[in-house]
């Protein structure tokens, strides 16, 4: 496999992860869906014994911190993979000179 195709594959993979993470951060679909399902499941009189637990799970939403970590991790993978491959190629070219 040539350097160019290795870099291309790595870049594509990392870009997909990065874009998915970014889309996740800014999309509000799951939050809206969560709100709807929670409100539907709740007993309007508040007698459902699972009310408190449902609210607990409602709070346990995918948090901003986890979204940030996905972005951070993706950036790290991108930098290390691409940078490492480039550094190796430069070093090999230097040695052969």
């Amino acid at each position: 496999m040539t350097t160019k195709s290795s870099l291309k594959n790595a870049f594509t993979l990392i870009s997909v992860i990065l874009l998915t993470g970014a889309a996740c951060s800014f999309c509000g679909t799951c939050r809206a869906a969560g709100n709807v399902s929670t409100s539907v499941a709740l007993d309007p009189d508040g007698d459902d014994p699972r009310t408190e637990l449902l609210y607990h799970w409602q709070d346990k939403r995918f948090s901003d911190e986890e979204q940030h970590q996905i972005l951070l991790c993706s950036a790290l993978i991108l930098v290390v993979s691409v940078g490492g491959a480039a550094k190796r190629q430069i070093r090999l070219k230097k040695v052969l000179k």
Partner: protein
């Protein structure tokens, strides 16, 4: 690409075979099964409460045991290879350093998976014996407990590339404990008055350390609460990306190593 796949599967295969035959794995599995049995013995209450307690305790037993197995196997894998020089004949082949790290990691995960499948079988047997059926929630909870064990194993592998085995073991257990109680810990620390340095350390730690609590869906199993598929997908993605990032660091560290 096919060579990479072949290298990874071969290394994972021999690591898994080696791991599953090690005495320490058998001892830890015995420990796990003992914990599971003890968990069932503690549920001697009203039937409905008993099932909740059994599910809760068995999930905790499986979590603790699987993480213990993954920590023990992951922190000893690479250092042992270097110490015993079993790495020499393998690295004399045209294998990249990162393939060796990832292959060893996948083998460790394979061994942990074997252990968790045995524990899952025991769990299903207990549920059938006590309630006559196995809820689908069990098959939702277990993969995420496995994912949590995979993250812990990745951290163990990463630390073992530059720490001694005992230090790597201790640090991995430390990270596991912090990750499992991250939210409560951050709330506790937020209530305290810190210096600027303390606040920076806390902020960096909060961003860098994994939130392992989000992989634990035992409450949804115990109380029969549905969890949205989107949330599960996001959690799975988080676990996967975090694991890949940690393995990237591990590969980077191992690439610089001389042996």
């Amino acid at each position: 690409m096919i060579n990479v796949f072949r290298h990874l599967t071969t290394l994972a295969g021999i690591t898994m075979l080696e791991g599953a035959r090690k005495q320490i794995f058998h001892v830890l599995m015995l420990f796990a099964m003992t914990l599971i049995v003890i968990a069932t013995l503690l549920g001697f209450l009203d039937h409905n409460i008993q099932m909740k307690v059994i599910k809760d305790l068995v999930c905790v037993a499986i979590l603790v045991s699987s993480c213990l197995i993954s920590i023990t196997l992951s922190v000893s894998g690479l250092p042992q290879e270097l110490e015993l020089r079993t790495v020499y004949p393998v690295m004399a082949k045209p294998i990249k350093r990162w393939e060796f790290v990832v292959g060893k990691y996948l083998g460790t995960v394979g061994t942990v998976t074997i252990g968790m499948l045995i524990m899952l079988a025991a769990f299903c047997g207990i549920l059938l014996a006590y309630s006559g059926h196995v809820s689908a929630g069990v098959f939702m909870v277990m993969p995420f407990l496995l994912l949590e064990a995979c993250i812990v194993a990745a951290i163990g592998v990463m630390l073992s590339t530059f720490c001694s085995t005992p230090l790597a073991w201790f640090l991995t257990v430390f990270v596991f404990m912090i990750g499992a109680f991250k939210f409560q810990l951050s709330e506790f620390l937020a209530a305290k008055d810190h210096s600027v340095v303390g606040k920076v350390v806390e902020a960096v730690g909060y961003q860098v350390l994994p939130n392992l609590e989000c992989f634990n869906f035992k409450d949804s199993l115990v109380h029969d609460i549905p969890v949205s598929g989107i949330y599960l997908l996001q959690t799975g993605l988080y676990g996967f990306v975090y694991t890949v990032a940690v393995l990237t660091l591990a590969s980077l560290a191992f690439a610089q190593k001389e042996f």
